[in-house]
Each structure stands twice: as structure tokens, then as C-alpha cells.
């Protein structure tokens, strides 16, 4: 299958710290890839580089065959890459429905429109549909600040999904979610993604989540990919077990 994302010699330095070191990798269209690694191994920096949050020191990022290196988050997003965050980035004073409607308005390029209502019927129906698919229908009119951590994580994903991305990057979608809810959260996300067939890359510390939901795993250490393959192979790899999982 064709590569949707191609990373060539990507490096990011923060002063003396080498956060991402000469990274080379490809993500194929339609894949669900899980990224594992210890804290500081460069996973989130990699996501931040791809989504334009920070600029690389050297290297190129190609998305659907086009060089997107150095583009702003807005430009990256409008090209079809969406992301969710480890700490959900939401409009906390607004309701879940209003958050979703703002994302739809952003996708439609209507942020400047000061005349037509945001809560127009067509957009409300679309927002209600995505919130229902993620199991947030009952809390659609609640403000973000009153949602549970799992609810906020799901809403963060909802804002990405309404953008109809080709590639979705999720940073620890179940962190902060209780053990009993983590599979429920991922089930809802993956079920919603199934209908859109979007290529998905997610960072995760929980190996149960990786085993259950990823088709392919990448192990990061010291800003490099130290192992790349099927989940079973990666979790059995002695180098990964020692440096990432902390097992002998």
C-alpha cells in the first residue's frame, strides 16, 4: 500500500538535547500504528513535528507525496492531518456541542463569518452524529469543564474526526482514563474510525491497548525508532523489552 506519511532524516534539537535523531520511517495508507517508548524517547516531539507545532532542525516530512516540512498547524490541518493531545486541547468554557460546531466551522473555512448562526441545522446534525458515535450524545450540552477525563479525551478525538482527516495522530488517548474505562474509550474511537477508514497513529504507554488495537508498532528510544514491525514481534523483541518495557 502507498505511503501516506514519509519521514526522511528528521532531527530535532532543543539546545544540547537531541529529541529526535535522524528519524526515517513510512506509514502506509489505512494502517493503525501504535508508538511505544519511555518518557523522553521522542514520541510526542515526533507528533509535534509532523503537525507543525515545532519546526525540525533538519529533515523532511512528506504527506500524500507533498513536502509539508515547516508548515503551520493550520496548514497541516487543512491538508488532512488531524491530531488529539495528551492533555485534551478544548474550548473549556463551551459545551461539547459548541466545541464540535467550532471544529466544523473551522473545516468549512467559516471562522470569519459574523452573520450566519454557528448552530445551523446541518452542522448541528453532523455534530450530533459524531458525538453519538463516540458515545457523547448525552453530554453534548454540558460544558467541557464538567466532563470526565474520558469524555474530554473522546471530545478531543471528535474535534479531529469532524475535520475528515486522511491521517489521525493521537497522543496517549487513554492516559488519565480509569482502567475500567480505557478499553471503552478506545473501542468507541476505533469504531468511529472504522467508518472513516482513516490512517491512525497513536502513542500509548499501555501495552494492552497496543496489543489490542494496533496492527503495527514502532518502539522509540533516544529519539530513534529502535524496532518496527508487528505488535507481537515488537513486544517479544529483547531490545524493546529491555529499553522500553523495562523487562530483562
Amino acid at each position: 500500500m502507498a505511503a501516506i506519511l514519509e519521514i526522511r532524516n528528521l532531527t530535532k534539537r532543543f539546545g544540547m538535547v537531541l529529541a529526535v535523531d535522524n528519524l526515517v520511517l513510512e506509514i502506509a495508507e489505512g494502517e493503525t500504528v501504535g508508538i511505544i517508548g519511555t518518557n523522553g524517547s521522542g514520541k510526542t516531539t515526533f507528533l509535534n513535528l509532523v503537525t507543525g507545532y515545532i519546526l525540525p532542525t533538519v529533515g523532511t516530512i512528506r504527506f500524500e507525496g507533498v513536502d509539508i516540512t515547516g508548515l503551520s498547524p493550520k496548514q497541516v490541518t487543512t491538508r488532512g492531518i488531524a491530531r488529539s493531545f495528551q492533555n485534551p486541547q478544548l474550548f473549556t468554557g463551551l459545551t461539547a456541542m459548541e466545541n464540535t460546531l467550532i471544529a466544523i466551522a473551522g473545516r468549512a473555512g467559516q471562522a470569519w463569518d459574523g452573520w450566519q448562526p454557528l448552530k445551523r441545522r446541518v452542522w448541528r446534525e453532523e455534530a450530533a452524529d459524531i458525538l453519538d458515535r463516540l458515545g457523547l450524545g448525552d453530554v453534548a450540552e454540558q460544558t467541557v469543564s464538567s466532563l470526565s477525563e474520558g469524555g474530554r479525551k473522546l471530545l478531543d478525538v471528535a474535534l479531529s474526526l469532524v475535520l475528515r482527516p486522511s491521517l489521525l495522530l493521537m497522543d496517549e488517548p487513554t492516559s488519565g482514563v480509569s482502567v475500567k474505562d480505557k478499553f471503552d474509550v478506545m473501542d468507541r474511537v476505533l469504531r468511529a474510525l472504522d467508518e472513516t477508514r482513516v490512517t491512525t497513529v497513536f502513542i500509548e504507554h499501555d501495552m494492552e491497548i497496543i496489543e489490542r488495537y494496533a496492527q503495527r508498532a514502532l518502539a522509540f528510544d533516544g529519539g530513534r525508532v529502535i524496532a518496527d514491525g508487528t505488535v507481537d514481534a515488537i513486544l517479544a523483541d529483547p531490545v524493546v523489552r529491555e529499553s522500553v518495557l523495562g523487562a530483562a
Binding site: 493550520k74 474550548f91 473545516r107 471562522a111 454557528l118
Partner: protein
């Protein structure tokens, strides 16, 4: 039951709205010229305050809206003096255009800034205009300013003694128009993006939108309201001077914005009317200490209604609910 339950409060709100409209319509018929003048000024300034509030909802404090207030006033003055324009509609349109054009130009710079930088930069530009208005004496009249002569309405000069009433109804009608525009703005994507801007700038870019775009368009709209309010105030007072662009004038608009509250588009109008009356009665009864009276009133508002005067209805609802429970 449900429909009736939901319909009753809505009917109550409509009834209160109609009552307030009737009171405003009746003011020139039952009150003195002085009261009519005060309400006219309050409504005109409320338009400027609404512009400040729309930016405030995005976390942007403009300490320079005196710039647009002055631009609107001087547009009326210049049009009367140099172009012999006397028609009220044309003068008001020119005032609004002056505010819009200035905001469209200045917005290109200000849309990049936030917080204290936005506040100070807007203040600095208004002070530049203040100085220019002082120095270009031959054009602007310097500290004396410019006199605004009597206006006509579609070529007809109001009958003697009715000018104030005609202007009152014109300002009142325009206030209703501005409230409608403000309502559309608040309910639109632009209005919501301004709220979103205060909550989370990062996410705005990650929904594929520009941060600068909503700021710019809101700023231009805000400037247009500033120009409109400035033009109407100048017509009402019959005079425009550089003081209109001075930082204390801009400070008054921010004061009234906080005084009234930022939750509703009606809040600036309530805040402005109350402010004008409190200020004028303070000056009347304690000419040497009116600022102290004004400060005390603001302190009371901050203590008892921290979200501004408009939040009185929430406080009243809470008291009513508590009284019913007891």
C-alpha cells in the same frame, strides 16, 4: 405541560422587552431635555462599549477605542465643515465608515498581539491620533475642537426645539439595529471563535482555522461600532474635541464594559445608561468628589455583582429560588 412551562418564561421575557421598548419610546414625551440628552449620549457610547465587549469576549482588552470614537466624531465635523454635508443619515454613515477604515488598517497590525501588548498598542495609537488632532490646529481646531452644526433628515431640518428628540429617536433606532447586529455576531462562527480564542488558541489552528482572521474581523466590526457611536455622540453634544481620543475616554469605555458585564449584548447598554446617570448625578451633588462616588459604585458592583450589572438577573433568580425553597 412542557410546552407551557417553556413558553411562560419566554412570554415573560418578551413582555419585559416590550415594556423596556415602550419606556424608551416614552422618554422624550415625559422627561426633561436633560434626561433625553443623557440617554442619547448613553446609547451612543453603549455602541462603542459593545465593540469593546466583543473583543473582551476573546480576552482582548482595547484601551484605544477612543481612537474610533474620535474618528467618528471628526468624520462628522469634517463632513460638515469641508463638504457641507448636513444630512443625518449621510453623516452617520461617514462616521461608521471612518471607524471601519481605521480599524481595517490598524487591525492588520493589532491582530498579531494579545494581552498587555494588544492593550498598550491600541492605547498608543489612540494617543498618536490625540496628538495629531491637537497639532493640526488649522484643520481640527486644536484643543477647541470643532463645532457640529444642526443636521437635516433627508433634506428636512427638524422643527425648532425638536432636534434633541429627533436625534434621540434616531440613536434609539440605531441602537436596536446595533443590538441585532451584535446578536448575529454573538451567535455566529466569528462570535464563537472569539470565545474559543480566550479558551485555547492552540486548538483553533488544529481545527484548520486562522487565529488572526477572527481577531481581525471582530476588530473591524468593533471599530465600525466605535465610529458610529463617536459620530452620534458628536451630533448629540454639538462638539468634538481631541479629548475623544485621549486615553481616559478609552478607559471610560473599558470601565463601562466591566461595569455592565460581558455576558450579553444588552449589558453595555444597561451599563452605559446607569454609568451616565451615576456620573452626572455625582457631578451634580458632589462636584469635587464625583470620581470617588463613581469608584465606590464600581467597588459595590465588583463585590456584589462580579460579572457586572447584567448579572443582576442571575443574582435575582438565585434569591427568588432561595426564597421559594424557604
Amino acid at each position: 405541560m412542557m410546552a407551557g412551562g417553556a413558553g411562560t418564561p419566554r412570554l415573560g421575557i418578551v413582555a419585559i422587552g416590550v415594556l423596556i421598548l415602550l419606556i424608551f419610546v416614552a422618554i422624550p414625551l415625559f422627561f426633561s431635555q436633560w434626561v433625553v440628552f443623557l440617554v442619547t449620549i448613553a446609547l451612543a457610547k453603549a455602541m462603542v462599549v459593545l465593540g469593546v465587549v466583543l473583543l473582551l469576549r476573546g480576552g482582548l482588552i482595547s484601551f484605544g477605542h477612543g481612537l474610533y470614537f474620535a474618528a467618528g466624531g471628526y468624520a462628522v465635523g469634517f463632513a460638515m465643515r469641508f463638504l457641507q454635508v448636513q444630512d443625518l443619515v449621510l453623516l452617520v454613515a461617514l462616521a461608521m465608515i471612518a471607524g471601519t477604515v481605521m480599524a481595517a488598517l490598524l487591525g492588520l497590525l493589532l491582530r498579531r498581539y494579545r494581552g498587555i501588548f494588544f492593550a498598550m498598542l491600541s492605547l498608543a495609537v489612540s494617543m498618536i491620533l490625540y496628538t495629531l488632532l491637537l497639532k493640526f490646529y488649522s484643520l481640527t481646531g486644536g484643543t477647541d475642537g470643532m463645532s457640529i452644526h444642526a443636521f437635516t433628515v433627508f433634506g428636512v431640518r427638524p422643527a425648532a426645539g425638536t432636534t434633541r428628540q429627533v436625534l434621540y429617536y434616531a440613536v434609539f433606532a440605531l441602537s436596536l439595529g446595533v443590538l441585532y447586529l451584535g446578536h448575529r455576531f454573538a451567535a455566529s462562527p466569528l462570535g464563537y471563535f472569539m470565545k474559543a480564542l480566550r479558551d485555547n488558541e492552540i486548538r483553533i489552528e488544529y481545527v484548520g482555522a486562522s487565529i488572526a482572521q477572527p481577531i481581525y474581523f471582530s476588530y473591524v466590526f468593533s471599530g465600525a461600532l466605535g465610529g458610529l457611536g463617536g459620530g452620534l455622540s458628536a451630533l448629540s453634544v454639538g462638539q468634538i474635541s481631541p479629548e475623544a481620543a485621549y486615553w481616559t475616554t478609552s478607559g471610560d469605555f473599558v470601565f463601562v464594559a466591566i461595569f455592565g458585564g460581558a455576558q450579553s449584548i444588552f449589558a453595555p447598554f444597561l451599563g452605559s445608561v446607569v454609568f451616565e446617570f451615576v456620573k452626572n448625578y455625582s457631578v451634580k451633588f458632589s462636584p469635587d468628589a464625583w470620581q470617588m462616588t463613581l469608584g465606590a459604585v464600581l467597588l459595590l458592583i465588583i463585590f456584589f455583582l462580579p460579572d457586572g450589572l447584567w448579572s443582576f438577573k442571575d443574582a435575582a433568580s438565585r434569591l427568588w429560588a432561595r426564597w421559594r425553597r424557604s
